[in-house]
């Protein structure tokens, strides 16, 4: 059998396995394109978790009550923990953590569009927790059904924690929505600023998105960007209206079938933002790099720690 025939047979067997719903594990043969796309996707996801910790983390000292401060601290800790889990998963596909961080800092690797914007008020913390984590869970419960075993297992754990984030964000939003006129105005202002980035969160429309078909066949993705956006809108638009908030899109309405119609986001602007041209892109990356450099002493101290092992019998 020639090399090409061998490859073709492997690919055929791989696709049949994925079609049966079996998981792919790190040591398994996989098409190079599958490995590449998955590594890129998980790397971006990991970056988004640790970059997402920045806008919210900066509000921890100014949380309005001790309970809110503790809950927000727990959420930020979860996000950084998700980053750890996901970098571990991405490592199984070839790159080291340090390479991935270097690619993040240098702008070669991307992170989610929503974390390129400032968190200007406390209401932003509520909107991020409720709607951005709400959008993330639509994406992540889908990805948990994907074909790559380590990613799928990490996402199950991540989704369980995201549900706390959404509920806490909703709790903040409801407090403001049922509060003073100033609090309601602050909340509406936050929604106005965040709506467009949130509409862009799932990525470009299917008409513009490349590669989708193959990624769906390989169960790297299970739904298109537009399908996920629609699922998110059906779930959240009625809840936003229920709180008496208005959505800053004059073309947004729900038809008799429950489909949400909306203004198509400006995808050129989206690309500018994710390529590092957003209002906070460079500041966030510089802050992340500063934290990495200033905390180098912690890593050095850990590496020098005296080697001690569990001195009790385990089994």
């Amino acid at each position: 059998m020639t090399q090409a025939q061998l490859e073709a047979r492997r690919l055929e067997r791989f696709e049949a396995r994925v079609a049966r719903g079996e998981k792919v594990e790190p040591g398994d043969w996989m098409p190079e394109e599958y490995r590449f796309e998955l590594a890129r996707l998980i790397h971006n996801h990991a970056n988004s978790e640790i970059m997402g910790a920045l806008p919210e983390g900066s509000w921890i000292p100014y949380a309005p009550t001790l309970k809110r401060k503790m809950a927000l601290t727990a959420k930020v800790q979860d996000e950084v923990g998700h980053g750890h889990l996901l970098y571990r998963v991405a490592e199984t596909l070839g790159k080291s953590r340090e390479q991935m961080l270097e690619e993040l800092f240098s702008g070669k690797a991307k992170f989610s569009n929503v974390f390129h914007y400032p968190a200007e008020t406390w209401a932003d913390v509520g909107i991020i927790g409720w709607l951005i984590d709400g959008a993330a869970i639509v994406n992540q419960t889908m990805m948990a059904q994907g074909s790559y075993g380590p990613y799928s297992r990490a996402l199950k754990r991540i989704c369980a924690e995201e549900s706390f984030h959404i509920k806490h964000g909703y709790d903040i939003v409801v407090s403001l929505a049922t509060g003073t006129p100033e609090q309601r105005a602050m909340l509406q202002d936050a929604l106005n600023r965040w709506w467009e980035p949130i509409m862009m969160f799932f990525g470009p429309s299917d008409k513009r998105s490349v590669h989708t078909e193959k990624l769906v066949r390989w169960r790297v993705k299970l739904k298109t960007n537009d399908e996920q956006r629609q699922e998110f809108l059906r779930k959240f638009v009625p809840k936003i209206w229920e709180l008496g908030l208005s959505i800053p899109d004059p073309n947004l309405y729900i038809d008799e079938q429950g489909t949400v119609h909306y203004t198509e986001p400006d995808w050129d602007q989206f690309l500018t933002v994710v390529r590092g041209g957003g209002p906070m892109s460079q500041a966030r990356l510089a802050t992340r790099r500063l934290a990495w450099e200033e905390n180098a002493w912690v890593r050095e101290a850990l590496a020098l720690a005296e080697k001690r092992y569990a001195d009790f019998p385990i089994a």
């Binding site: 571990r88 510089a286 180098a296 720690a305 080697k307």
Partner: protein, 130 residues
């Protein structure tokens, strides 16, 4: 409008400094520590179950990091960490070695059906009632 609020951001005053320093990046130190697989025991008497892995320079640090990562909410009475390279695994391609070569019902409780035989013996030894 309370827009001024974002200036409380503790990192905000350091952003110019961060941007300046980013122009002369320091290459990261080597922290590619070994990988440790983590096993969590939810309660005494239950088995330790694999939950993930961490990078750490030694076992003690691996336990500290594993505690932060894998027992924030889940019940836990003990964690194990094991160097990933200490684990040996059969390859998935050889999964057919686990397929039974023979009918193995002789190994299983379900392979032995006694009740029908007892019932049959009982009914055939019964005296026909006139």
């Amino acid at each position: 409008m309370a827009r001024a609020g974002w200036k409380f951001n503790p990192y905000h005053h350091r952003i110019p400094e961060a941007l300046e320093r980013a122009r002369h990046p320091v290459p990261p130190a080597d922290t590619e520590w070994p990988v440790w697989e983590v096993f969590r025991q939810p309660e005494r008497g239950e088995p330790h179950v694999h939950v993930g892995s961490v990078h750490a320079p030694d076992a003690q640090m691996a336990l500290v990091l594993a505690k932060e990562q894998f027992s924030r909410r889940e019940p836990c009475v003990q964690l194990w960490v094991v160097r990933a390279e200490a684990i040996f695994a059969t390859p998935y391609e050889d999964a057919d070695i686990f397929e039974p070569a023979l009918d193995r019902t002789y190994r299983l409780a379900a392979g032995y059906k006694v009740r029908p035989r007892i019932n049959q013996a009982a009914s055939s030894s019964e005296e026909p009632s006139s």
